[in-house]
């Protein structure tokens, strides 16, 4: 009987996810502000429904453990508070980004609770702290105009902390990744991504002279080299691609893209020859089954999970995602595909894409080189990390061990992603308010010049709301 319930819930969850995903894109093509508002509100309904059904299954399958029910309650409170706090504190917040942030957190909560209650509880704490911190970020963006001038600080802090990790930290899982104090380990590479984006954006805002481009490239390259040397290949690769993208957009020079691509390819070949840990990853990628005992094990287990799950998944608690190594972080996508199915997995990818499109839309609307480059850079960090993660666990590209932002377990990853989202929200709010100011000024000017007291409030508000995604 319980098997039957799980089977039915499986389909319901997929349908909820599919409808949610559809609305992520449909909202872009809707111009009627009322139906847009309904759509965004419905997204929250879908999310809470999916959360509820999944937790009912988990509750039932985990022997009606009260802890599960308690955690569910806490998560609902957190998610609802997040939506309320953001919308009340910042009425101009991008609802699309906010909703998707909560949706991705929800998917992570479900899967982590399924994998291990302790992890899910810790993740909940990280999320609560992270959201609390992220709530003040938009104010900082708005008030601190000096942010665009601090390029030496961004670059300096980045390199120093990376070197510190390299020198001080103990090896964890083959890669030198972080500091540990007070039981918490901090992975600076997660935050370095943000710092580097700020460094590059402020440096290019300062000058686009060839000399300064060379300097900026050298600093960025140093970041990448330290990361590769620390065997954190995933972060190194992400920073490389992010820098290249920012360089291309800032200079509008496709030649840089080409040169960077060639240099990257050369560096990859060199890395393959120089570092054994790079070689192992590539071989495991080429044939994880033949190299099962030599590094192919992880990817092979991941593929077993995805293949066993098929389109519809085997149902929550029906699979064996604990067989996948680091299923809670680096391989969480495989665990999701196993139990919730590949359709759900593809929907998840599409949600990430819609977040990215929204980020880039915001970047395009912004004024000022610094803000535009920050939004572009952070958007690229986000989407490329999603790509490296999912591509790696599905054997599309060699696996490099990065997390799926907001879904994977991990305090550093979660906190840095929440901050990234909040920075972009801050930029969006800044732009909305600037535009509002301008519109008001213009209205005042028009009203003054024509003296005719035509009230322009309504139409203006509507237009503004239509933009308020």
């Amino acid at each position: 009987m319980s098997h039957l319930i799980v089977e039915i819930s499986k389909y319901v969850i997929i349908i909820l996810m599919a409808v949610y995903t559809y609305s992520c894109f449909a909202v872009f093509s809707t111009w009627d502000p009322d139906s847009k508002r309904d759509m965004l509100r419905n997204q929250n309904v879908l999310m809470f429904l999916l959360h509820l059904i999944s937790f009912l299954i988990l509750f039932m399958q985990k022997d009606f453990d009260v802890q599960i029910a308690g955690l569910y309650g806490l998560q609902v409170v957190l998610l609802a508070t997040t939506i309320l706090a953001y919308t009340k504190l910042y009425p101009k917040v991008s609802r699309v980004v906010l909703n998707n942030m909560c949706m991705l957190l929800t998917v992570g909560f479900i899967m982590l609770t399924r994998l291990e209650y302790e992890l899910a509880f810790k993740q909940f704490i990280f999320a609560a702290i992270g959201i609390g911190i992220s709530l003040v970020v938009p104010i900082i963006i708005k008030k601190l105009k000096v942010l665009s001038e601090l390029r030496y600080i961004y670059g300096g802090v980045g390199i120093v902390s990376l070197l510190a990790v390299l020198l001080l930290a103990k090896a964890s899982g083959g890669a030198l990744l972080g500091f540990t104090f007070g039981g918490f380990s901090i992975q600076p590479s997660e935050f370095i991504k943000i710092l580097l984006v700020f460094f590059v954006a402020s440096s290019f805002k300062y000058s686009l002279s060839f000399k300064n481009i060379v300097f900026t490239t050298a600093v960025a390259a140093l970041h990448v080299l330290i990361l590769v040397y620390s065997t954190d290949l995933g972060a190194g690769l992400i920073l490389f691609v992010v820098y290249l993208t920012m360089l291309y957009v800032a200079t509008k020079q496709p030649l840089y893209l080409l040169a960077g691509g060639v240099a990257g390819a050369g560096a990859s070949v060199l890395g393959f020859k120089l570092f054994s840990h790079v070689k192992v990853r590539v071989q495991a990628w080429q044939d994880p089954f033949a190299n099962y005992d030599y590094g192919g094990y992880q990817v092979a287990q991941s593929l077993f999970a995805i293949a066993t799950g098929g389109w519809l998944g085997v149902g929550l608690m029906q699979g064996e995602p604990e067989k996948i190594p680091v299923a809670e972080s680096d391989f969480i996508f495989s665990a999701i595909c196993e139990e919730l199915g590949l359709i759900f997995g593809i929907c998840l990818i599409l949600i990430c894409i819609s977040v990215y499109i929204m980020f880039l839309n915001i970047a395009m609307e912004l004024k000022g080189m610094f803000y535009r480059l920050v939004a572009l850079g952070l958007g690229t960090v986000y989407i490329f990390q999603v790509f490296v993660m999912i591509g790696g666990v599905t054997k599309f590209i060699p696996s490099t061990g990065v997390t799926l932002p907001l879904v994977s377990y991990g305090g550093s990853s979660l906190l840095s992603t929440l901050i990234m989202f909040a920075i972009i929200q801050g930029l969006y709010i800044l732009r909305e308010e600037e535009e509002n100011e301008q519109r008001k000024k213009k209205l005042r000017r028009e009203a003054g010049s024509r003296k005719a007291g035509r009230r322009a409030g309504n139409s203006g508000n509507d237009r503004q709301r239509a933009k308020g995604l």
Binding site: A307, G310, G319, K323, I349, L350, Y356, M364, L376, F387
Partner: protein, 486 residues
């Protein structure tokens, strides 16, 4: 607003839009690029799930399959006539037991479902633990909190042939495999010593440490010197190196050949006298083949051997041991002579020799061997039917046809003339492989097929430590007799 003002406003607006588009050209390019990359990723995932997933799930490394056993009753394995080879029987207390009605007869090919699994129980694990039962049956089982009925597998195995091969091997250790060359269907697969799969759990320690390696599947994982059966490979290479003149080959056999201090004798020192290539094969003349071996280009020989699947994983997916020729660029004359007659460092499995023979019988084209004919659900409806699949040509049709002729002569008047007297014709090649210093005991080999014009059945036999009483040709004969007289 006057008309002039409106025009100016419109113009300004247009200009702004164009500026914005210009400003954002790079952003758009970046966005489209990443979206394109993701579309590739999603496309790949769809491809993976549609094309590759099935194979991945079946990987023996995938321990996940056993999880299904919690919800699904393992399906039955049948032979081609629906004789039960393995089934799950539920006791009154609800516990399940896997029962193998034929005991030792199918030990290696059907395998067992404990201690890491083996045989069909391992390769068909996923199919047996998949339920394609009618949806209402499934719901009914769910409501009753019962397991779903797993799908059953109907194999290509033929119990009467299996029994004939098993009996003919008697108390010898060795292996027999019988394949339909036109389709690749495997009809019999015997490895001895055998064990009772019903007792694997109880006797695991003993089986695992058995000095005769009873658990080794000798058909696919036995490594033997092929002896004279390898002369088929040597002959093919000689034909390839001398495409116009191999028909004119002659040699005068005096029973022994001495070359640069290496001496090689024919079996029992028999002098075969003046002979051509066909007679060299028919009489399995060692001295003539040593002579041929000395003339061969070792690189090309190795290449031909690799085309015949040496140094490779074999088709069929039975996890075979890879065969080696041991040919090196630095081969001495003695090595060349030994290799040409299938001694020296050459190692093959009976399964591999069966594939080479099947390709010869089937005009050069090898059909991928298979054991699973189809799967069916609990109601008997076919879920998936396996169709014969070509692996590709191992040699040209002309080469296959010539080798067939030579193999026919082996049975007509050569070393296997005791065969083919049951109202059907047989072609083949015998072999006697020395495996140690125990000169009076050799591995006895036979590979061959019945019905020259339209080959019906390929049989490959090896008997370990045959003392002359157990001959591979007799075992093959018993299998052919059963095939035509059943």
């Amino acid at each position: 607003m006057t008309a002039k003002e409106r025009r100016a406003y419109k113009k300004e607006n247009k200009q702004k839009k164009r500026e914005k588009k210009d400003r954002n050209r790079q952003f758009a390019f970046v966005t489209y690029s990443f979206v394109a990359v993701f579309l590739c990723l999603i496309g790949y995932l769809v491809y993976f799930n549609v094309v590759r997933a099935d194979e991945v799930v079946r990987s023996p490394y995938n321990a996940r399959q056993d999880n299904y056993a919690k919800y699904i009753t393992r399906g039955t394995i049948y032979d081609r006539n629906m004789e039960v080879l393995a089934e799950t029987v539920k006791a009154e207390d609800g516990s399940e037991a896997r029962v193998y009605p034929y005991g030792d007869l199918y030990s290696h090919v059907v395998g067992y479902n404990v201690h890491g699994k083996a045989g069909l129980e391992s390769t068909l694990n996923f199919d047996l633990l998949t339920s394609n039962a009618f949806i209402l049956d499934k719901i009914k089982a769910d409501f009753a909190d019962e397991k779903q009925p797993g799908d059953s597998a109907v194999t290509t195995l033929d119990t009467s042939l299996q029994q004939a091969a098993y009996n003919a091997l008697g108390s010898f250790n060795g292996a027999v495999v019988a394949i339909e060359p036109s389709t690749g269907k495997i009809l019999a697969w015997v490895s001895k010593p055998s064990f009772d799969p019903n007792q694997v759990s109880a006797q695991w320690e003993g089986l695992n440490s058995d000095e005769n390696s009873v658990l080794i599947n000798r058909v696919s994982n036995g490594s033997y010197a092929p002896g004279s059966t390898f002369k088929l490979v040597t002959t093919l290479e000689y034909m390839r190196e001398n495409p116009d003149t191999y028909g004119n080959y002659t040699y005068d056999c005096s029973g022994v050949i001495d070359y640069n201090g290496v001496s090689i004798a024919c079996y029992n020192n028999t002098a075969h006298g003046h002979e051509d290539l066909g007679n060299s094969v028919a009489y399995s003349c060692n001295t003539s083949f040593s002579n041929i071996g000395l003339s061969l280009n070792q690189d090309r020989f190795q290449k031909t051997a690799e085309e015949l699947l040496f140094e490779k994983k074999l088709p069929g997916g039975f996890g075979n041991t890879v065969s080696h020729t041991g040919i090196t660029a630095a081969a001495s004359d003695g090595d060349k002579m030994m290799t040409a007659m299938g001694q020296g460092k050459v190692q093959v499995s009976p399964y591999h020799m069966a594939l080479i023979t099947a390709a010869i019988a089937n005009g050069g084209e090898l059909m991928t061997p298979y054991l699973l004919d189809y799967t069916q659900n609990n109601g008997g409806s076919v879920v998936e039917k396996k169709m014969p699949k070509s692996y590709g040509a191992l040699m040209t049709a002309a080469e296959a046809s010539q080798l067939k002729e030579y193999m026919k002569q082996v049975v007509d008047y050569g070393t296997a003339s005791n065969l083919g007297r049951g109202g059907y014709d047989v072609a083949g090649k015998t072999g006697t492989a020395e495996y140690s210093d125990e000169m009076e005991k050799n591995h006895s080999w036979f590979v061959g097929f019945s019905n020259m014009d339209n080959p019906d059945l390929v049989v490959s036999v090896v008997i370990e430590k045959s003392d002359g009483a157990g001959r591979a040709t007799d075992v093959a004969g018993a299998v052919f007799d059963q095939y035509y007289n059943q």
